[in-house]
Amino acid sequence: MDFEFLSQTFVALLPGIPVTLELATLSLMLGAGLALAFAVVRVRRLRPLNWLVIGYVYVFRGTPLLVQLFIIYYGLAQFPEIRSSFAWTYLREPYWCALLALALNTAAYGSEILRGALLSVPRGQIMAAQACGMSGFLLFRRIVFPIALRQALPAYGNEFILMIKATSLASLVTLADVTGIAARIIAETYRPVEVFVAAGTIYLAISYGLILLVRVAETRLNPDRRDPAPVAGVGAARKEVTP
């Protein structure tokens, strides 16, 4: 491996990092908000919204992000009505299209993760809260959500990292994020493996930071799992509330 080329490439890729980070952060924040709302709609079966959300989740989980991006970016542009509307000021720009597609996509995945987590909250723990006079948002905020979050976190951690990588698709609509720059360097040098190693290092560093954050959050949310030393066998590694 040619280390000089590797380090040159690495430096050339650096300007892409802010674009990647910004796209990931914004889309994750937007997406998580939507995901929570959708998950609540699903768990509480708020009709007719429930059906809409089911359809939405199916479509956005069921098709490649690339196709979604294509449809939002190229598809909408086919309609003269859209091109002459106010929305075109945003849809015209690859940046906003990419952000929109990413946020809608992660919202669909996130809502499924959160739904599963919400459903896994033990009924007894909810009943105990109701018996204290909690209900509605208070019950959700103080009991249901914290317990669900503990369950959701590993899966949502996956989703964070997937989104960091998913931002690389933005290069397909011409944005110069890390992957976009990498693709250009590959086109100029025909040395994909070296360039991907350099780009991979950057993505890995970002993901690793994120994994550390998620791990900190996990231990903070599960103080009872901070066992001093797990003992013998799979079962003994932790304790849970007895039923």
Binding site: G62, P64, Y74, E112, A155, N158, Y203, V234
Partner: protein
Amino acid sequence: MLESLTLFGFGPDSWGPAMLRAAANTVAVAAAGFALGGSLGVLVAWAKIAGNAPVRWLAAGYTTVLRGIPDLLVIYLFYFGSGLLLTPIAQMFGAEGFVSLPGFLAGMGAIGVVSGAYHAEVIRGAFYSVKTGELEAATAIGMPRLLKFRRITLPLVARHALPGLGNVWQMVLKESALISVTGLVEIMRQAQIGSSFTRQPFTFYFAAGVLFLTITILSGLIFNRLEHRYSRGRA
């Protein structure tokens, strides 16, 4: 509309059969990769939960690196890198020229090791939401490790893991699109071929979306059944 009917119908000039063949390739490579990743994921999750320090450290390294780097890099390494590894071995056995993994196997391997990292995280999370007591009861009754794993741990973990595994399957299905660099004609590659032939990219990518959606809806039905099956007895 009418135009896309002739494009994707079943006449001699239609792209329907080609798209369907590509869809079959997508499903095959995704399913094979998913199965490989699932087995890896179980092992790695187990290592993370019950392994000693070096094993846990290794497992953490694996999940961190494979989730962190772009999937395309892994695919490149499998497809282009396999030659570097296999050629000398093959030449030792008297083979001539280059030897490397065929596109399908390279794709399956790449998808497998990447999705293994995600599988592991999902399974680990699910394991922690199983009540310890139920596992202890199995130990106390004298079940050997493997039996306990198969009869008690797995079904209980499956209950919590299934929604997450559903997500991983969706991810794998779409990741198969990247496998096209190996020359495997899956849905997205076929869409690209068709769109360059007819010069109608939008129509083809839209059709690809519809195909993916169909596959997910069908596989969603399977996952729903499994979820239903494993949620028996849930409070």
